[in-house]
Amino acid sequence: MASVHERTTQDFPAAAFPLLHKDQLRSNVRHATDVIQAKRFRVVSEMPDWQLLRDAGQRIRAHTFEYLDAYLEEFEQHCTAAGGYVHWARDGAEATRIVVQLAQNETSKVIKIKSMTTEEIGLNHALEAAGIQPIETDLAELIVQLGHDKPSHIVAPALHKNRHEVRELFARTLDLPDLGDRPEDLTEAARVYLRQQFLHTPVAISGANFLVAETGGVCIVESEGNGRMCLTLPRKLITIAGIDKVIPRFRDLEVLLQLLPRSATGERMNPYNSLWTGIHPGDGPQEFHVVLLDNRRTEVLRDPESRETLHCIRCGACQNACPVYRQTGGHAYSSVYAGPIGAILTPQLAMMQEGKSLPYASSLCGACYEVCPVKINIPEVLIHLRGRIVNEQSKLVRAFDPEAVAMRAMQWIFLSETRLRLAQWIGRMVQRPFLGRSGWIEKLPGILGGWTRTRDLRPLPAQSFRAWFKARGESSSEVL
């Protein structure tokens, strides 16, 4: 089964290292996130009730997960009543099996609307293995697919590429040697290619932004209109959605469809907002399936300290705001979910067995929490997950891991001011061999060596503050 976290890949620091030397990629990421953030800032600033909307969004999401089972069954009931079929998939393997079965006898290719959930379960690989060609119709997903690349951002999967790179890719893969590199040249090339696919493919696969329990309806917002094509032209439509996508009532969209586009793309409203419920004779797909995917979301729900991770509405604002993501781009996270949300979601979806370096891939600066439209306290969850990782340390790690040993030693020192004074004195002695010619520490050993790779460290001064204060009290004149 495909895993949310790529098993074979390195941990975050190792995966980030080569990316830090890709200047073009880093400049693409910086440029794109700056542009989206500036747009977001403009459309958020014009909303006098933005913080109230965030509160409302948070409450809607928290309430939903209190009664998730009931809302999911309500969705199933209404979707079925409207002529849809609802399938329940425990994990990615079950979901892909269901989708492959539904598509297999019908077609040799399917058109797809951008969906991170299908990326999460590796659906495209499963389809290809069954002899079905998946065709991504979202421009950015198409770029990723044609380049045999991986998405690096939830909302803008090809954010790491600039238009010159896209031009090269299209010229090569779509056989268009004379293609220009203006945005309109590139979109036209994609349009010509995709139009044929839309007209001749009988099955479409979509994700979902929201599932409305009250009506059994599915909601997708998008910018390009490719989604609308997939939702209307094919004969059969299969929607795959995590169980976290359900919302109780239709009117909850009033809040969420204000929060989502402003946070995601810096737009007041998405150009295309599609909502469909079941089937309608003579209009749109005549067969409609929804696959509800768990894939360990109920496991995430079990931990009250971190379950708010599931509140995420996949806007990507935390990725754009994150100073770590800004430096590395999304591929350093080795997960379809990159950035701060990926750093908390990925290891939880992997039952804390993979992606364990991700909760540490943050300086805890809090920029993600500040922009999150549903107020997920990502820094708190990061710290909590770090705690879970430490609690699950084996006895061997506890006894010999340099960090674990150092942490216990530091605690022992901090539990007595006498020991702290002694440690300060020892520090002044021990640092001597490490002092460079400038009198600063220029190279440290072991785990501390990371510091001196790019930074010096000023040496411990001859007198600590507590020593100064004590000396000052003992003599009548101030010692400085």
Partner: protein, 252 residues
Amino acid sequence: MQIALFITCYNDTLFPETGIAVVRVLERLGHTVVFPEAQTCCGQMHYNTGYQAEALPLVRRFVEIFRDHEVVCVPSSSCVAMMREHYEKIAIAAGDKQLQSEVLALLPRVYEFTELLAHRLGVEDVGATYPHRVTYHASCHSLRSLHVGDVPLRLLQKVRGIELLPLEGLEQCCGFGGTFAIKNADVSGAMLEEKLQCIQKTQAEICTACDNSCLMHLQGAMHRQSAQVNTVHIAQILASESLPSEERKGRS
């Protein structure tokens, strides 16, 4: 007023001049500073790195030492953020109702240094003189946890002779993040480099902040690159009267 100083472990060990400056400013304003000698560390490093069980005794220790003081001054916003964001949670997780109520009683009396001046003591002009080009870096915890807003800048604006230069990307993290700087040294270094470039663009002689942790990080790169800019904690600028050069320590 009698003010208890929690100097914090790293200021005590690495930046005594910051503590000395805090004492000078507060005494100049007519207050008495006491230093409970048993104090050590707030537990932030342990807690944020995931060693939450190890942080608990340090939390107890802090509360025990400071619970009877009227006002506690801390020249580090990240340590104050640790207390405000996590102390109660830690007490609840430990099932210790008494600790929880002591935390709740103590925390409203704990102030970050610039908060103390502006919010508790109601002072903006502390009578400082500092004839230098200075840029202010808003540390993440002061900005997003304590919400100090423009308090530090208002204090700096009242300093005689100072030339304040605006910093591009003011609200972006410098890349320190405690153990992050070591565990993710390369990414942290890249963040630091971007911040340093913004600082250098201002042409400031001095970069200041409410947190020596960020400043230690910035200073480390400045020293490595022999940059023509240094760091000074805001307390040292506010303490400075006529001979600012004496306050500028740490550069060889």
